[in-house]
């Protein structure tokens, strides 16, 4: 494709200066050959000048048989910038851990140079490779070329969203389970739920290998699976002493900041009362050679995180305090729990009600009842402090006992 139009972009030119890599350079680079990218520059300069976006609500566009994966987008200035009058994005499900080879990246770029704007987000904040700007007729061709290359679309709308994870065991010594393996498994297991929206609202999975939570799962996924351990922290006293020698103040930097207040350092040996350890990672983070998570590893499952709209932002909360994550993943009881939870949510959730909001509305205790999970103290920061208790069947139970 050849590009003739040239826009004056004094505002955006400004953003080409400075040491941080510039998105403007990227758009201009693509715009040299790609008319969509070129018109985007024009439209964006107008937005900068007017301090106003120029995109309209998206219509329903997509690929055949899928309800998600494409975000429709139309400009409100189609005459002025015809090449971006359609400017849909395609969400391409990334490989777990965002690993690529040079070869596959070139092939992905080939597809996108052929059919789209030549612009991407590597990656979107859910995790997808986001192909920015495509016309409606080009959606199907992109899709078939992607699948030929072995790729598929990600989620959008009220479906399972593209799961994502930290690099876990592939590159991190702290991963308490195989985040990438599990993420791939989940993505494959729920392909139908991912492509065909059938929930009250979106449903995100994020997998982090340890409580550092490098994929921010607790802040932005409906199901957050965070690796942890339940035996003793592994200690290499020699290496701990080395840290101390090399300037780490173990009392001030570690013991005092330990939330379990369970670390003692006598100048020679570190002692940890593991029964009070909160599994926060801090001591391990500071002395990676000296300490390591225990050997009895698994994950804590939390659920319900979301952004503010409508009922206020939520962090995920504990639903399964500890769960082993071992192959064959398909045998894990967890999937039954997940599907039970979805059933309850689908049957009773309101439109656009995230599962976290739903649980708050019906009450965690009632939700557990419905799902068939036992309440455990790990699910709460503390027991209730108000006496407004819906005692249930207390009398009945007592009668039975007597």
């Amino acid at each position: 494709m050849a590009v003739d139009k040239k826009y004056e972009t004094p505002m955006l030119d400004q953003l080409e200066t400075g040491p941080w890599p510039s998105f403007v350079k990227e758009i201009k680079a693509a715009g040299e050959e790609n008319p969509m990218a070129n018109d985007l520059i024009g439209l964006l300069e107008q937005s900068y000048t007017e301090r106003l976006g120029h995109w309209k609500h998206g219509g329903i566009v997509g690929v055949m048989g899928y309800g998600g994966g494409v975000i429709g987008r139309y400009s409100d200035l189609p005459e002025k910038y015809p090449a971006v009058s359609h400017f849909h994005t395609i969400r391409v499900n990334q490989p777990a851990g965002w690993y690529y080879t040079a070869d596959v990246l070139h092939k992905l770029c080939d597809i996108w140079d052929k059919h789209g704007s030549g612009l991407t987000n590597m990656h979107g904040s859910t995790g997808d490779m986001v192909l920015l700007g495509c016309t409606t007729p080009d959606l199907e061709p992109v899709f078939s070329e992607l699948t030929e290359l072995g790729f598929d679309l990600g989620g959008s709308g009220s479906d399972v969203r593209t799961p994502s994870c930290c690099c876990g065991q592939s590159r991190c010594e702290w991963a308490c389970y195989d985040t990438m393996g599990l993420t791939h498994f989940i993505t494959q297991k729920f392909q139908d739920e991912l492509h065909r929206p059938a929930f009250p609202y979106k449903m995100k999975f994020k997998m982090s290998g340890c409580p550092n939570d490098c994929v921010a799962s607790i802040a932005r996924s409906d199901i957050s699976i965070i690796g942890t351990w339940r035996d003793e922290i592994q200690i290499n006293q020699e290496e701990v002493r080395n840290y101390s020698k090399n300037g780490v103040n173990i009392v001030k930097e570690i013991a005092v900041l330990c939330p379990g207040k369970c670390i003692d350092w006598d100048g020679n040996e570190i002692k940890i009362d593991d029964s009070s350890c909160r599994h926060c990672m801090h001591c391990i983070n500071v002395m990676p050679k000296g300490l390591a998570p225990g050997k009895d590893r698994g994950a804590v499952v939390l659920m319900g995180a979301k952004a503010p709209i409508v009922e206020g932002a939520l962090l995920s909360s504990v639903i399964i305090p500890f769960m082993k994550i071992e192959e064959p993943y398909d045998d894990m009881e967890f999937w039954e729990v997940i599907e039970e939870m979805w059933d309850v949510w689908c049957d009773n959730g309101k439109a656009r009600e995230r599962i976290g909001e739903f649980i708050q509305r019906v009450g965690l205790g009632n939700f557990l009842d419905e799902v068939g999970l036992e309440p455990v103290a790990e699910m709460v920061a503390h027991p209730r402090d108000n006496p407004y208790i819906f005692y249930e069947d207390y009398l009945e139970e007592e009668d039975e006992d007597e």
């Binding site: 758009i27 007017e50 490989p95 965002w98 690529y100 080879t101 040079a102 965070i226 330990c258 709209i309």
Partner: protein, 360 residues
């Protein structure tokens, strides 16, 4: 439908990562023992077997042209046997087995204009969203603000001299696609004018009951317009969240003169030391001032500097402020405390200061 076109591939999911991981990772998968950060932007992971993997992390604007992706791919071929990855904060990581390749790779990246850094106690890339580049909902641009801020704090990307990690995020509207609500510093696009109802198109474009239900504060009331069902907004009950616009295009809310950004601070995600925390409102409003949003840049810089100068080692922004108390933070920063800082949503009462633990 599947029967109609049997050969059409669907539901194949993403390719397995095995296809893409370098051999050293396949060999040592799950066997990494510890890591070190010999210099900013470079990680060395050592495995039980003694193998060493070198990672070089380079900053990225996230919005990449295929041209740039191809250049990254070629660098990976040149130095890393063709292997690379991206991070959860959108940086690009090159995975090396030969330490001797580190310096040449970094030199190439520098020449390309992609600084190496973002590891350890640094500022890494800003998680952000679409803004005026692609979204209909934006109250500000995303990439432009991010670029301006990163240009200013880039030294903190390239060094590791902060008390702890500092995570900045930006979302261009209250939908908060970047999930900025748990960031050390969050920049959030803000509308400040009530939606301008397009009474003509509304009945055609929108489901009125859904529209009414979408408003968190019940500001939208049913009414009629030219005999047809319509809605009106109780002005004093609207807090400009734009959720009505999300469900109904006939409620446009963006407005150049009143849109802008707010700054939120002290959130975190990790469980390290303290539990994850939400960010709290620091600066209620700064008007959009493209292309460089200088007031936003200055505000971020001020907060970073204040924290850097005063926090204890390992204290994230929120942990530092929790220790010194918010009143002291407001005094130190000179940010005026206003009515807008006082929560008035559902759980507001729980944010009131219910103790005599004050500093003077």
């Amino acid at each position: 439908m599947a029967d109609a076109k049997p050969q059409r591939l669907t539901d194949i999911g993403p390719p397995h990562h095995d296809r893409f991981m370098p051999p050293i990772i396949k060999k040592n998968y799950g066997k990494w023992k510890y890591h070190e950060i010999p210099r900013p932007g470079v990680l060395v992971h050592t495995s039980d077997s003694g193998d060493k993997l070198y990672t070089v992390r380079a900053g990225s604007p996230r919005l990449l042209s295929t041209k740039k992706i191809r250049i990254f791919a070629d660098l990976a071929t040149k130095y890393c046997g063709g292997h690379l990855r991206f991070t959860s904060r959108h940086n690009v990581e090159f995975l090396l087995t030969d330490a001797a390749n580190i310096d040449p790779l970094i030199a190439d990246l520098d020449a390309l204009g992609h600084p190496v850094g973002g590891t350890g106690n640094s500022i890494t890339s800003i998680v952000h969203t679409q803004g005026w580049v692609h979204c209909h909902s934006a109250a500000t641009d995303a990439s432009g603000v991010v670029k301006a801020v990163m240009d200013d704090v880039i030294d903190e990307f390239k060094t590791m001299e902060l008390p702890a990690k500092l995570r900045i995020a930006l979302a261009c509207c209250l939908n908060m696609c970047g999930a900025v609500h748990c960031s050390d510093i969050a920049i959030l696009g803000i509308h400040k004018r009530i939606p301008q109802i397009d009474l003509k198109t509304l009945p055609k474009l929108c489901e009125i009951p859904n529209l009414i239900a979408s408003c968190p504060t019940n500001a939208i009331r049913p009414t009629t317009y030219e005999g047809k069902p319509s809605v009106e907004i109780q002005e004093d009950q609207c807090m400009f969240c734009a959720n009505c616009f999300t469900v109904c295009p006939a409620m446009p809310i963006a407005d150049p003169d009143t849109d802008g950004v707010s700054i939120w601070i002290g959130g975190k995600v990790s469980n390290a030391r303290s539990e994850p925390m939400f960010s709290k409102l620091a600066i209620p409003f700064i008007p959009n001032n493209p292309p460089r949003w200088p007031e936003v840049v200055e505000a971020v810089r001020m907060i970073v500097d204040l924290w850097k100068a005063n926090a204890n080692k390992h204290e994230r922004v929120g942990e530092w402020i929790e220790r010194i108390g918010w009143p002291k933070f407001f005094r130190m920063s000179g940010i005026p405390f206003e009515k807008t800082h006082i929560d008035d949503f559902k759980h507001a009462g729980l944010t009131f200061k219910r103790s005599a633990h004050l500093t003077y």
